[in-house]
């Protein structure tokens, strides 16, 4: 079974600084997707960034980037130039790549990291 581990329950960062959130996962699959979701106090789950395991290049989305280390099964999220609006719970999630029905699209989530941004 796949598992996703976020070892940092809480983190804080000074506004305009950079912070890295850690995520490790366990899988026997070779093809899969990894995601970072953001859940602000409003509780809406918002996709931040995604990474396909077959791509060696790390995904980037504006101030958000990942460090994907497939051999180490590590998928960290770096937030640059942190803003007050970045304060939220961040969830790392995993999904196998495949087309065998809705079950193959299940997301396995970590327990989340609460990020606080200090003005």
């Amino acid at each position: 079974a796949q598992t996703v581990t976020q070892s940092q329950p809480e983190m804080s960062v000074q506004e305009a600084e950079t912070v890295t959130l850690s995520c490790t996962y366990d899988t026997s699959e070779s093809d899969y997707y990894l995601f970072w979701y953001k859940q602000p106090p409003s509780r809406q789950m918002i996709l931040v960034i995604r990474q396909e395991a077959y791509k060696q290049q790390n995904a980037t989305e504006n101030r958000f980037s990942v460090n994907f280390q497939k051999a180490a099964k590590s998928f960290s999220l770096k937030i640059s130039d942190s803003q007050l609006g970045d304060a939220a719970m961040y969830f790392c999630a995993y999904r196998i790549m495949g087309d065998s029905g809705a079950g193959s699209y299940q997301l396995t989530f970590g327990k989340g990291t609460k990020l606080s941004v200090i003005p």
Binding site: R43, Q44, A102, F109, K111
Partner: protein
């Protein structure tokens, strides 16, 4: 564009009462649909998923059930709520045979008294 709606946004129910949470998707057909629960301070736990009308798969045994009476409608129900059913419930969808990520509704905060 596709949108997903969940209601109600908040709900307070006594122990032993029934439950019905509704989720609908617009702008797509034959979506895969999912119900998740998020307990306080925890990650998301998949409860049910559906690949089509009346096709429901359960991931965890519990006193909750799900139904899909229409293509884009997914309902989470209970005949008798327990205190342990409190939490934040999220509905999500993906397109069939899609490599796109799941898109979530705004969630329902359920408090059991």
């Amino acid at each position: 564009s596709q949108t997903i709606h969940q209601w109600p946004a908040t709900l307070v129910q006594p122990v032993g009462s029934p439950l019905s949470l509704e989720c609908t998707v617009e702008g797509t057909s034959n979506p895969n649909l999912y119900w998740y629960r998020q307990a306080a301070g925890r990650g998301l736990q998949l409860l049910f998923y559906s690949i089509g009308i009346d096709q429901i798969s359960s991931e965890v045994p519990q006193n909750l059930s799900a139904s899909r009476p229409q293509d884009r409608q997914f309902i989470l129900s209970s005949k008798k709520l327990l205190l342990s059913d409190s939490g934040f419930y999220l509905c999500a969808w993906t397109a069939t045979h899609s490599n796109q990520p799941q898109h979530f509704g705004d969630g329902t905060r359920l408090s059991i008294l």
